[in-house]
Assembly symmetry: C2
Homo-oligomer: 72 residues x 2
DNA sequence: TCCATGTGTCAATGATTCTTTACATGGCGA
DNA sequence: TCGCCATGTAAAGAATCATTGACACATGGA
């Protein structure tokens, strides 16, 4: 992990809240690889804004419900 | 511009709505260069999620108020 | 006119995100 | 036990984002 991001996310919880969705299934729905999902879920890096929007759309929640940016 | 982003934004409007903030001033507040602000404002590329969050914070609005991701 | 300010363009470079491929581990059912 | 599935690690390379520096143009004030 070269540069851990400060942004945290609720992807894992949202996956399980949506029919026990697996990482592979989520990746397929996003059109990215499973490794990308793993890396984002673990906070190894924050996704591009586009991918973040797609993520929120898959779960049907606003962006701020998927990602959290801690105050200073 | 190889791949224009599909994400649009309201940065310009938000700048003027916040005391006629200039691009240079916004850039300084974000800790990025003026060129970066220009490129994002024009939709040449979408910013990183972190920068997007900082942008929303500067204007005091949720992320979804700054950036819009059009439906399919 | 001269100068400062705000905006915009271009090019080169570095940093980060994402892909691809390969392999490892633990749980579970046949 | 064997095979499959879900998860995880790792590394190299491609694609995208972000930086700097230099220059251009319009506007407004001294």
């Amino acid at each position: 992990m070269v540069k851990p991001t400060r942004v945290t996310n609720s992807i894992r919880a949202l996956r399980f809240a949506n029919g026990e969705m697996t990482q592979a299934e989520l990746a397929a729905r996003l059109g990215v690889t499973r490794q990308t999902v793993i890396a984002i879920e673990q906070g190894r890096y924050s996704p591009s804004l586009e991918l973040a929007f797609q993520l929120a759309r898959v779960f049907g929640v606003p962006l701020d419900d998927v990602f959290q940016y801690p105050a200073e």
